[in-house]
């Protein structure tokens, strides 16, 4: 009988760069920046690290394939290093790899580092997908972008719940406005400006019905974690953060090719959440999860994710958004660091950036953004499009 990962692994150090349009920094600068903070926070030396995982998505655009960009940059002394990639769940995938390695007993201390240098492609938005998604995709699929693929979920959500475009957009605007409020307080965030609901509503359309402020920042950045066996964690620090669940779910093709999918939720997130809560022993996510960092690549993604993560009943997330449940001072704050929306979204780093915020909140070190009485935090990544994706749900606690 599989035992799961709960309380077998602890995070003893984390680091995260400033996210943003880092014209000053290449991928190796970003790696060093995150690693230095992480190492210092853990209070260990580089030679203590026994294995490493690198997460990066658009290798074609910047650092190249394999784990070499990590080992060369950090001059890792011939230790095993692995590069992982699973679209936007890449950073969480790197952490998963390091945690499982430690939980297996193969290593005592492992590094997970995610990095992405997106702002070297010469245009706005994510780098063009057509070269990255396989041989036949270009012949089969529309020449879609991420905003368009997620906009289709908004169209569907509005239709399913009889929301007029303005009503639906207003709910989504509240989601974005809340994250901007939090991001403005975060010195490491990419976008640090409060915006009103009206500003979000009247922003230029990117992919109907989503406008500019329904979309997250496209950023450069890196984040890292050092993990160890739970029974060793207290040797390194008094307040280690324990892994309660590491779940990932990958589309089966149903969402794209089978009419049973309703298009107003994410099937993988739903599955990963059920598995993660089971692994962590969470019975009622709405009551027990103190805070969450979810994959708000677009406002609609955050809205449906709160339903997929069982924070809100299906079709009711809008009510909770309007009631302020997910605000920093609400009952269940989401995106206390600004989220992808404002902290930014360097793909390979995002999962680890989310864990960085949960880690700091659990330790009570989140400064003006500190949430009261944090016991259990969820991070959620969604890689790909609603029709075909990878979702991760990770849970950490004290």
């Amino acid at each position: 009988m599989a035992e799961g990962i709960k309380d077998k692994v602890a995070i003893i150090g984390m680091g995260c760069t400033k996210f943003g349009e880092r014209w000053d920094a290449g991928y190796s600068d970003l790696i060093v920046e995150a690693f230095k903070e992480c190492l210092e926070d853990a209070g260990i030396e580089k030679k203590d690290i026994q294995a490493a995982w690198l997460g990066t998505c658009f290798d074609e655009q910047f650092c190249g394939k394999s784990a070499l960009p990590l080992s060369h940059t950090l001059k890792l002394p011939f230790i095993p290093a692995t590069r992982v990639e699973n679209f936007c769940a890449t950073g969480s995938e790197a952490l998963r790899g390091a945690c499982y390695a430690v939980a297996s007993g193969a290593y005592d201390i492992a590094l997970a580092l995610g990095v992405e240098k997106l702002k070297d492609c010469g245009y706005g938005g994510l780098p063009e997908f057509s070269r990255q998604v396989g041989t036949e995709s270009r012949m089969l699929f529309p020449n879609a972008t991420a905003p368009g693929a997620f906009a289709m979920m908004a169209t569907r959500y509005f239709a399913r719940y009889n929301l007029k475009p303005d009503e639906g957009k207003r709910i989504l605007a509240k989601v974005s406005s809340k994250s901007h409020h939090n991001g403005a307080m975060n010195p490491k965030a990419h976008l640090r400006r409060e915006i009103t609901v009206e500003q979000v509503m009247s922003a230029p359309i990117i992919a109907w019905p989503l406008g500019l402020y329904d979309c997250c920042g496209v950023s450069d950045g890196s984040a890292a974690a050092i993990v160890t066996r739970a029974d060793m964690a207290k040797k390194f620090r008094a307040d280690p953060v324990y892994i309660k669940a590491l779940q990932i779910s990958v589309s089966s093709g149903i969402e794209l090719m089978h009419s049973s999918y309703d298009g107003t939720h994410i099937e993988t997130t739903t599955h990963a959440a059920i598995a993660a809560y089971k692994e962590a022993g969470v019975k009622n996510a709405r009551e027990e999860v103190s805070m969450a960092e979810v994959h708000d690549c677009f406002s609609i993604t955050e809205l449906v994710t709160t339903e997929d993560l069982q924070f809100s009943p299906r079709g009711k997330a809008g009510d909770d958004v309007t009631a302020g449940r997910f605000n920093l001072d609400g009952a269940q704050p989401i995106q206390s660091d600004g989220g992808l929306k404002c902290f930014g979204h360097p793909i390979g780093a995002s999962g680890l950036r989310m864990m960085y915020e949960v880690y700091k909140q659990l330790q009570g070190k989140a400064g003006p953004r500190q949430i009261k009485n944090v016991k259990l935090g969820v991070t959620h990544n969604l890689g790909g499009f609603p029709l075909m994706n990878i979702a991760s749900v990770l849970i950490a606690g004290l």
């Binding site: 706005g124 036949e136 012949m139 368009g148 109907w208 089978h258």
Partner: protein, 482 residues
């Protein structure tokens, strides 16, 4: 009896008032103006995709596997100099591979040439049924007279020896090396000699000669014809040719110069389809093409004509239209102006021709699979059933989605994605009878879309890879034509 057994037409969605072009470029050639409007193929269309649209209209309700044993396309604007257009069309139509195919080209009378060749093959017993498509999409120099004259459209005729709706009773052909308009191998645009010379020495003399030749050969009087189809883009000259031979001008088929324009090799066939739509049993029809000579054809309508009356033909396509009021956009569609595509627009991977070949049934024919265990239809072709309650492996039969309608599950209009005609509109379709996939959406305004609205499939250019000279085709969804 050998003749036409079905017909189909196609006119693109966009039309442009000729005055729109004139307002933009009239300063260059103040005399280059004609009344009315012309048809404009969308950016994702070419002579092959338009021929497919007309062929699908023509083959509605016809068992393609049993019936079609030949496919000809006539066009002067094949997207390839070496890659058979008929081969692409045959794959898109899912015709069986054991058929005779040929491209007829290099003259605007290639369409009637293809009809005559098909007729001869059937008459000789070499084939039972041959599908003849004719289509042209000509690029014209900005501000020139041809830009005013020409339009884009296609027609398709099925020829056979049973259930004939209009028998081919005779023909008379003439051929001259009369080079009044031409494109050299290296030419992108057509050149033409003075239009008065084209009209008087070309159209008038040669069409008169072919018609008179036909009348003499079959001992007919032009008054015997209920409909006279003359592919002449000089509106008045076309009528005058017939009336000088004694015809009642009311019998001369509308040249469609006010509504569509001269579509080259497709032109006489498009006008013929328009005539057949109105024809009555017993009508004699005269069809005359033009281009380095002329073919005159003599057709006789039978009482089977009523059987194909629900095809879209020309009338229904003509009624479905969107005015293009932006001349620059037309130039962009034809890639006649250097356009800032942005780096995103320039990014592209190269097409793997071998992968395209392997996947041709799915990509070009819109074939998927249907699970023999649970009956679930799936696009594209799969080996493992997607039904979560089934999951059978290698229990599939081929299943074609091309002629299935569907409903729009969801959609967006994407301004970030590169498109020649932004926003890029795409959405998810649920097919009647099952099956779901994600497609581009063609020929619509985004604000006209609604979740749940009926859609149908249309064969289009997916992208053109200029670096390697590859045109890739795929199926897009479009609102069901009213």
């Amino acid at each position: 009896m050998v003749g036409i057994t079905s017909y189909g037409g196609y006119i693109p969605w966009y039309r442009m008032e000729r005055m729109t072009a004139y307002k933009a470029m009239g300063w260059l050639n103040p005399a280059a103006i004609l009344p009315g409007e012309r048809s404009i193929a969308n950016y994702d269309e070419d002579s092959v995709t338009m021929a497919v649209a007309a062929a699908r209209d023509c083959l509605k309700g016809i068992d393609k596997k049993k019936k079609i044993d030949g496919l000809y396309i006539a066009t002067t604007t094949s997207p390839y100099r070496q890659r058979e257009g008929a081969g692409i069309i045959g794959t898109a139509l899912s015709l069986q591979p054991s058929i005779r195919t040929a491209d007829f080209t290099d003259s605007t009378k290639a369409g009637t040439g293809a009809i005559l060749s098909a007729y001869d093959a059937i008459k000789a017993g070499s084939a039972k049924n041959i599908l003849v498509c004719a289509s042209d999409l000509r690029k014209e120099l900005a501000g020139g007279y041809q830009e005013q004259l020409y339009g884009d459209s296609a027609a398709a005729l099925l020829l056979g020896d049973t259930d004939v709706i209009a028998s081919i009773e005779g023909s008379y052909s003439i051929s001259y090396d009369f080079s009044d308009s031409w494109r050299a191998d290296f030419d992108e645009f057509e050149r033409a000699w003075e239009d008065r010379w084209r009209r008087d020495e070309g159209y008038e003399k040669q069409l008169t000669e072919s018609i008179a030749g036909l009348l003499t050969k079959y001992k007919l009087n032009i008054k015997d014809f209920a409909k006279i189809v003359i592919a002449c883009h000089f509106e008045r000259a076309g009528v005058a040719i017939a009336t000088k031979l004694g015809a009642d001008p009311s019998r001369v088929q509308d040249s469609m110069m006010r509504t569509m324009g001269d579509s080259g090799a497709g032109y006489p066939l498009v006008l013929l389809v328009a005539a057949l739509e109105e024809a009555k049993p017993g009508d004699k029809i005269l069809v005359v093409s033009y281009g380095n000579g002329s073919d005159a054809l003599f057709l006789q309508v039978t009482d089977q004509i009523e059987k194909v009356r629900d095809n879209k033909g020309i009338k229904k396509w003509l009624a479905r239209k969107k005015m293009l009021d932006n001349y620059d956009k037309y130039l962009a569609f034809r890639e006649e102006i250097p356009m800032d595509k942005g780096f995103r627009g320039e990014e592209s991977s190269s097409t793997q021709i071998s992968a395209l070949w392997r996947g041709r049934k799915s990509f070009l024919g819109l074939w998927g699979s249907r699970c023999k265990k649970c009956g679930t239809p799936i696009y594209p072709i799969q080996r493992v059933c997607v039904n979560p309650d089934c999951g059978a492996i290698d229990e599939m039969e081929d299943y074609c989605f091309a002629d299935r309608k569907g409903t729009l599950f969801t959609y967006t209009a994407d301004l970030l994605a590169y498109s020649i005609n932004p926003p890029a509109i795409y959405g998810v379709l649920d097919f009647e009878g099952g099956g779901r996939f994600w497609f581009d959406i063609a020929d619509c305004a985004p604000e006209s879309l609604k979740v749940g609205m009926p859609m149908e499939m249309t064969f289009r250019i997916k992208y053109v890879e200029h670096g390697r000279g590859v045109s890739t085709y795929s199926w897009k969804a479009a609102p069901v034509m009213e």
